[in-house]
Amino acid sequence: MSDQDLNAFQEDAAAWLATHFPASLRHKIGGDFETNKEIAADLEVWRQRLAEQGWGAPTWPRQYGGAGLTDPQAKVVQEEMRKIGAANHIPVIAGMGVTMVGPTLLEYGTEAQKQKHLPGIASGEVRWCLGLSEPNAGSDLASLSTKAVAQGDEFIVNGQKIWTSGADISQWCGALVRTDAEAKKRDGISFVMLPMDQPGIETRPIRLIAGASPFCETFFNDARADKTDLLGDLNDGWSVVKRLLQHERQSQTTARGGQAKEQPLYDVAKAYVGVTDTGQLADADLRNRLASHLMDAQAHRLTIGRVTAEAKGKVEVSAAASILKNSATKVAQTKSELVVELMGSQGIGWEGAHFKDEELARVREWLSGKAISIYGGSFEVQNNIISKNILGLPETTQKG
């Protein structure tokens, strides 16, 4: 598409937003917007309009509820929304649907599966969770033991999943299940999709070190999945989930924080630590570490830019995604450590009026951020992936 066409598209997008985005939602979509009762009615109107326009999952084909936009067009839409304080909240309310399940369905799904599942995701009406990890299958995901046995037109599923984010409020679940106990462990796994609203599924929210969390334990007790909801081939679930996790890493590569309106970290530091008469941060050691961190953060952002520039015109997920996950993790966790440290005794609060809201939020974020190097393939698993898949070093530490 020429720049001229893109400019015309931009004007159309801006015009559509001007008439369709409810002004009451300006700058309101973010944080805990889902539980904000005051905006609930307008939010639903906005969801319907987004869905009709296909902008919930703008790059998906039209027949599946998307708008068939190119990546540059989708970027334009995002940018036009940002300009007026609007946002596309469908990827949030669809749970794992827009970011992970949908892209994988587009690649592995049958025509019938795409027609059945994608429109509900793109419109934000159906929220998805993922049943991958188990109490005894974390980093070693392939050792999972949740079983699915064929019976007539269905699979009967038994077992337990953990870290099923949003399971208690989701309508559908994509789960990895063992369908052949005799095969080598990666070869006996399938990916099934099943509705959450059935007697055989029970969910229990998990409280974390940072307090309440979206994570759940999910128990399958003779739960049922329709055989037509098998994604990919029987016993080929490992390929499906590898792709799914690539999409997850892709969506996690943006370092948390660093958003436009955020106060620069060095200004926060100055406020708590003070400055010398030459304007330098009073704690020289902290100043060094802060500079190192900001360099890491900038190097990470520049690398995202470089990977994007190098990938221009290619559609496949880049191998460099594995590098970016660990880099993003390091940047986010170091930032949280620094911000808690520099707040001193204001950085040890848990709740109450002695601490400012933003101080408490930083402490919670520091705690919840410990998960970044664990989920989506731990820091160590990412390094395995880099050394084996990218550098071509032999694998001997994993079996099966």
Binding site: P264, Y266, D267, A269, K270, V275, G279, Q280, L281, R287, N288, L290, A291, S292, L294, M295, D296, Q298, A299, H300, L302, T303, G305, R306, A309, E310, K312, A320, I323, N326, S327, E380, Q382, N383, N384, I386, S387, K388, I390, L391, G392, L393, P394, E395, T396, T397
Partner: protein
């Protein structure tokens, strides 16, 4: 390198095969063992001149091709991989940059064509103390008529034994001044520094060296700002060379991990080493982004050149520091021998790290530029 133009890719391919065939690390070893005073091979240097590399930063009217810093750097990266010794960086990058930024039309006309044809070798005479401190230049320059009389010392002058003209940063009454001084000027003497990387560096002694007013590069007392601009371009170029040196060290290490057997298996199958390789690879990729961003910013005339150049020199410096240590460590005993090339990379790494500001210099500058 990222998103190169077709022309840049061609130059990169040309530089890669030239360096591997004409000036590989074995050639560097021969040069070192020969003990040649100027510390580079004249045939190698002439070949670079013929390839047109000396003119990449020079305008077409002076015989150059004016292709910019990213293009120059794809060559420096390949030379860094093979540790090719030459005055290309000192003369065709730093020297040409200084003339482009601060030179009068007459000075440019006099010197740029000679940089391109190799008949002049320029270099920057900057450092006076063990630590990089361009703000604290002290070499004395007394006014005499419209000219200056220089007294003092300069050290760590790159290609100082081969240079025909020095760009000397001196202290004048109102600030810093850049001066062009021919190597044959009366009162100027030079001694070779025997450095661990076996490359050419000199210490210069100025004993009442008189220069005329037309030798001043830019404006009297106003040399501080152009000096930083010259240094930033030099730092970005060094970052590219360092990236090449580190990338080659990485490739050598990775190859060794895949072939060296101990305990009945290749050592790269040990997870501790696999993770170390993954970590080095990650650092290498991140630092490459910094070097490229700095070079692209220079070519685009962007505002954040100083910040990006400090970022690049520091981050590539950290990668090369760690990589050169791991090159020795992972190769074990063979890495300690002079017969194997690893030591060349380690020694060169430390010298490059020291040039124009080490990691802590640039970390401090980065923080200062951000205002904290």
């Amino acid at each position: 390198m990222a998103a190169l133009t077709e022309e840049q890719t061609l130059i990169q391919d040309q530089a890669k095969s030239w360096a591997v065939e004409q000036a590989p690390v074995q050639a560097f070893r021969q040069m070192r063992d020969s003990g040649i005073a100027q510390r580079f091979d004249n045939t190698t240097w002439s070949s670079m001149v013929e390839l047109g590399w000396t003119g990449i930063l020079v305008a077409e009217e002076f015989g150059g091709s004016n292709l910019g810093y990213l293009t120059f750097s794809v060559i420096l990266e390949e030379l860094g991989r093979q540790l090719t010794a030459s005055p290309l960086f000192a003369s065709a990058l730093v020297g040409a940059t200084a003339l482009n930024i601060a030179g009068s039309p007459a000075q440019q006309q006099a010197l740029l064509p000679k940089i391109v044809d190799g008949s002049e070798i320029l270099t920057l005479a900057l450092e006076e103390t063990p630590r990089h401190a361009p703000e604290q230049i002290a070499l004395s320059a007394q006014t005499k008529g419209d000219g200056l009389v220089l007294n003092g010392q300069k050290t760590f002058v790159s290609e100082g034994m081969a240079a025909t003209t020095f760009i000397v940063a001196v202290r004048t009454t109102g600030g810093i001044t850049l001066v062009l001084v021919p190597a044959q000027a009366p009162g100027l003497s030079r001694e070779a520094l025997a450095t661990m990387d076996s490359r050419g560096y000199a210490q210069l002694n100025f004993d009442n060296v008189a220069v005329a007013g037309d030798a001043i590069l830019g404006t009297l007392d106003q040399g501080g700002e152009p000096l930083q601009a010259i240094l930033d371009r030099a730092r970005a170029g060094l970052s590219a060379e360092m990236l090449g040196t580190g990338s080659q060290a990485f490739d050598m290490t990775l190859e060794y991990l895949k072939t060296r057997q101990q305990f009945g298996r290749v050592i790269g199958s040990f997870q501790a080493l696999g993770h170390r390789a993954a970590s080095l690879f990650t650092t290498m990729e991140l630092s490459r982004s910094c070097a490229e961003a700095a070079l692209q910013a220079i070519d685009a005339g962007a505002d954040d050149v100083p910040l990006l150049c400090s970022l690049a020199k520091c981050r590539v410096g950290e990668f090369l520091h760690e990589m050169s240590n791991q090159l020795i460590q992972i190769h074990g005993g063979i890495g300690m021998t002079d017969e194997f090339d690893a030591g060349f990379y380690l020694k060169r790494a430390r010298v490059l790290e020291t040039m124009y500001g080490n990691r802590s210099y640039h970390r401090d500058r980065y923080a200062t530029l951000l205002g904290f």
